[in-house]
């Protein structure tokens, strides 16, 4: 079994960047994704491998300087704790019969299954016929209520993880290391912000990947990505994606600012 499992987990560091990121809602979602992706038995999770992949993912988040939410870190330490607990020999006590020695993974498995159930339920909910999406009823315009609805209807058009995903693809194209490093060239995010703004100003909407054109080093790409995130935070640009996994477009939000309302989050 260990042999075949090793085969399954062949995504070593070289292509770790190809792991597709989905919009993970939290540590449980990420863990479930890793378990399903590796097609391992949820009742017999290979802790070492899953923990490694989990931590790899957090490392990438950190490399992007994204705030890794505390919950992700708590889960990482839980995983490591379970992993080490499994290395310990079982207590050689006849008093403790099998049913009393619980697998250290048991609670985690219960939580994962519970979570999966509610996540499936949420997918079911979304697939119902939704009012104001699939079906419509006569409604009576109450100006205030309408305004409130318009405000809350504004949601980010692109999920963060889709951006991260696109970023990973760009990052993967750049060689991991360069060998003739002379001195570190300082690339400031402020410079990249003005470059990006300049690029956007020239055309209506720019392909997300185009903004990275001419990038050669990881530092440069990371700075560009952070610049885009910063501009998005300042609501100076709008990031759109018209279909799932489609092209991500970036356009200036300053011109369109009047009728468009603001971008949430």
């Amino acid at each position: 079994m260990p042999e075949t499992q090793h085969q399954l987990f062949s995504d070593t560091d070289s292509d770790a960047c190809l792991v597709r990121t989905e919009a993970f809602e939290g540590p449980l979602d990420l863990l479930l994704h890793l378990i399903r992706k590796n097609e391992v038995d949820i009742y017999n999770i290979p802790m070492a491998e899953i923990t490694r992949q989990y931590i790899d993912y957090l490392d990438l988040m950190r490399e992007l300087n994204l705030d890794v939410a505390g919950e992700f870190l708590v889960m990482a330490s839980t995983l490591i704790q379970i992993k080490s607990q499994m290395l310990l020999p079982l207590p050689d006590d006849p008093e403790l019969e099998e049913d009393r020695i619980e697998d250290p993974r048991a609670e985690l498995v219960r939580r994962l299954l519970d979570y999966e159930r509610y996540r499936d339920a949420s997918i079911q909910l979304a697939s119902r016929t939704l009012l104001e999406r699939d079906v419509f009823a006569r409604n009576f315009a109450v100006p205030e209520a309408e305004q409130a609805a318009a405000d809350s209807a504004v949601i980010p058009d692109v999920e963060l993880f889709e951006l991260v995903d696109a970023f990973r693809r760009i990052l993967a194209k750049v060689p991991l290391e360069s060998f003739h490093e002379v001195g570190s060239e300082n690339i400031s995010i402020a410079d990249r912000i003005s470059d990006v703004l300049e690029m956007i100003k020239q055309s209506d909407a720019v392909d997300f990947e185009e903004l990275f054109a001419g990038s050669s080093t990881r530092e440069y790409i990371v700075a560009t990505f952070l610049a885009i995130l910063e501009l998005c935070r300042l609501r100076m640009i709008k990031i759109m994606q018209f279909e799932s996994f489609g092209r991500i477009l970036v356009k200036s939000a300053i011109i369109a600012a009047d009728g468009e309302g603001e971008q949430g989050e």
């Binding site: 085969q7 399954l8 062949s10 919009a23 809602e25 939290g26 540590p27 449980l28 979602d29 992706k37 590796n38 097609e39 939410a69 919950e71 889960m75 939580r111 519970d114 979570y115 159930r117 509610y118 996540r119 499936d120 339920a121 949420s122 997918i123 079911q124 909910l125 979304a126 119902r128 016929t129 939704l130 009012l131 104001e132 999406r133 699939d134 079906v135 419509f136 009823a137 006569r138 409604n139 009576f140 409130a148 609805a149 318009a150 809350s152 209807a153 504004v154 949601i155 999920e159």
Partner: protein, 189 residues
């Protein structure tokens, strides 16, 4: 008044109503009519509209009846309404699902099940009136407890809370549907 006219009366009231109308509400509005006959009239209207050749139907939702456009014409109606179609983030849906199935439920319970902080999501769901605070739980700290609202049932086209599929049914659905869809990982030779 004759029965046939009652049907028209019911139809006109349902047409003008701005929210699903329950039988109780109809009984009060039409107190001069026999309750059995009102029920019959509502069902007759519903049958009229469920036939072919109609763009709207009378649906049972949130404990009442409401005229709604048929889902197949959603694209056309969106041309009329300039608002973006209602969309929910996965975190909002997860939180809603947990509250719908576990209510009354505290924020702590939601967060344990989701594994993430859910304060922001709860607030936005409260703002959208999809959930409400039912009260406080009688445990240390007296945390607030949440439940779903009538708007939740209206939005998700639920006749009542009992018509949510059970979690077991969902599990079976997920099990049977995930297998054919799953693309096997290309295993290295």
């Amino acid at each position: 008044m004759s029965n046939s006219e009652l049907k028209q009366i019911v139809e006109s009231i349902l047409f003008v109503a701005d929210a699903p109308l329950s039988y109780d509400r109809l009984y009060t509005l039409l107190e001069e009519f026999d309750r059995e006959e009102i029920r019959g009239a509502v069902e007759a209207v519903a049958t009229d509209y469920c036939g072919a050749g109609r763009g709207v139907e009378l649906v049972q939702v949130a404990g009442g009846y409401q005229f709604r456009s048929r889902p197949e014409y959603a694209d056309y109606i969106r041309r009329l309404r300039k608002v973006k179609p209602a969309r929910f983030t996965p975190s909002a849906l997860e939180t809603l699902a947990i509250i719908a199935y576990r209510q009354p439920v505290t924020r702590g319970e939601v967060e344990y099940l989701r594994g993430v902080d859910s304060g922001g999501v709860l607030k936005s769901l409260l703002d959208k009136k999809l959930i409400r605070i039912i009260g406080k739980k009688d445990i240390p700290g007296k945390p607030l407890i949440y439940g779903t609202t009538r708007e939740f049932m209206e939005t998700f086209s639920l006749k009542d809370l009992r018509s949510l599929p059970t979690l077991r049914e969902i599990e079976e659905l997920a099990d049977s549907s995930s297998d054919p869809d799953q693309v096997p990982l290309p295993l290295p030779e």
